[in-house]
Amino acid sequence: MASEAHAAEGATGYIIHHLTPLRVGEGFWSLHLDTLFFSAVLGGLFVWFFKTAAEKATSGVPGLAQNFAEMLIEFIDTQVKDSFHGNSKLIAPLALTIFCWVFLWNFMDMFPVDLLPLIGSLMGIDYLRVVPSTDLNATFAMSISVFFLIIFYSIKIKGPVGFAKELMFQPFGPWLLPFNLLLKLVEEIAKPISLALRLFGNLYAGELIFILIALLPWYIQPVLSFPWAIFHILIITLQAFIFMVLTVVYLSMAHEDH
């Protein structure tokens, strides 16, 4: 248990300590340095790997990195083509970025819960929350960006008037205009909220269970953490996949003109 001095004593203190981000500033204009740092590093890792693969890309026999990158690209491309029928240069790279970045965020969950905070405490950092997707800021940042894209494409494809008409006259026709508007607004706003909260909730809960397992005696820990870690491999991939697919689906809905 790292830096007990700063936390409350006992199991509750341990849990709270693990879930407290490294924060600078007060109020809204404060920053979670750990979230920013880890997500930037992971984003850099993603970009570096794919850039290397892209630079060496040949249409001949691919190398190991290119093979892996191409596998992911084919996978994403298939997903995008399945649900998105428009023609957009943005959607597929967006989906690839979301899938890889979210997966890498989630993958931070696979490190032992005390390892990185312990290293941090040795370097004088008291609080360290290593999984960016357990920070609502990270998940909401992504889902709100997606929300902006949905609005942007809705207006771009349907035109401002078309989009306004869709908000007002669907699904129940012009006579129930206020009801339609309310329904549509809830529907649109529910998209980023559900995206962000789903990812956050899954990963937060997963992390919490790892922390709870870490509280148990050492001889029980492997019995529980091993199956949970295996199960978690599925969850982190699935959550990244869900975020990506839903983004693609929402954007394809934005492209559909009624």
Partner: protein, 157 residues
Amino acid sequence: MSINATLIGQMITFALLVWFTMKYIWPPLFDSLEERKKKIAEGLAAAEKGHEEILLAEKKAKKVLKEAKEQSSEIVTLAQKRANEIVEESKDTAKKEGERLIVAAIAQIEQERQQAKEVLRHEVVSLALKAAEQILGAEIDQGKHQDIISKVSNQLG
């Protein structure tokens, strides 16, 4: 748990990542994939074509082989026929030659017989003359009795 400026920072990072992926990562990798797809398709088509060409070539080879066989058997037949002819011809010539030799031999035999006859006649004549000389006891004048001698001699021929 609070929402704060981290959100904005994360959004900026996200936008940068998406922009970078869109600009530098997706296009080259996707293009190389498409190009490879094309190459493979072309390779498969070429293989298919090659296969067809092989089949055609095999057919052609079979045809040529068949023709060659037919030709060779024709040649053999012709050669056998010719050989038979040659044998027949040589038989003929041999027969003719044999006959000619026989004829020549017969002619020679005849000639020799004539010669022997001549010699014999002369000897008989002289023997007869000698005998007549002895019988008559007197010398017959050969000049005087030439006519008689030649008459007898002719009768002997």
